[in-house]
Symmetry: C2
Subunit: 138 residues, 2 copies
DNA sequence: AATAATTAGTTGCACATGCAACTTATTGCT
DNA sequence: AGCAATAAGTTGCATGTGCAACTAATTATT
């Protein structure tokens, strides 16, 4: 076996971990009391509200158990609300609260700024290409 | 802000997560009772034994608290042993047990096989380039 | 209509993780 | 020698995760 056949995968894992640490640090530096995972959920809800947990789990790429707990946390912080669906009693629809909306809006600029920084050493073409390659692996 | 400026980072996270799931699944399909994280520690130890936890934490890119618990688990499974250093009483040196050696040796082929599969859609040049880009982000 | 199969969400379990505080041992400094 | 700073490892805490079993509600089947 060629050692080169074996190397990309750990690099991706390492990079993902460092990104995660960096983003969480960005949040805490700006005194936003959220983890990156929580922030992502809020961000997706800002783009589209009134989703079921199922839909939100798919969009955020988590399994539903994981999402249940994220929503628990965000609900405790009064950033989202579970609204039982009238049509289907099994379903919750998730809404951003006013405070939740405020928090995303205020934090979005520097989160996006931080993400831009992370890829600032790469050209647009390189970014595009890398995304393609990530898709291949997936 | 250009939406394109904002997209690579989540792709990397998603890819890393899927890789992680796939590799854990590979282990359990082959009835190896290890998580990928545990396997990586064993693999590094196979390459170089008799490391301190500190060194191992650096090599495996974990903080020391996290590593302590991984070693706890592996020690319980009799795959590694903590040997107190004679020169420095603060230090543990970590050794692979016979069983640990056996487990890595037996599982290495199909772990490497699985990793190769993951990047089989990419050319060597693409792999190399992507690793370069991961380094830039880091 | 009654039963079976499916679906949304929750929960228990085991694991991994970062961070910070802590203990103990070592080294450096005065 | 004595005290301060540093280093290795452990632990508590909060968080996140997948998986599988579970509950309750809905839909499909007979």
């Amino acid at each position: 076996m060629n050692p080169g056949d074996f190397e990309l995968i750990p690099w991706i894992g390492k990079t993902a971990k460092l990104i995660h640490i960096f983003m969480n640090d960005t949040l805490s530096r700006h005194e936003v009391d959220l983890t990156m995972q929580q922030w992502i959920v809020l961000f997706k809800l800002q783009q589209e509200d009134d989703l079921t947990q199922q839909e939100l789990a798919i969009i955020t790429e988590r399994n539903k158990g994981s999402l249940t707990r994220l929503i628990d946390t965000l609900e405790k912080k009064n950033l989202v609300a579970r609204i039982p669906s009238a049509e289907d009693k099994r379903v919750n629809r998730i809404l951003l609260t006013k405070q939740g909306t405020k928090v995303v809006e205020e934090s979005k600029p520097f989160i996006q700024q931080a993400m831009s920084e992370l890829q600032s050493g790469m050209s647009d073409a390189e970014i595009k290409k890398t995304i393609e390659l990530m898709k291949i692996i997936q």
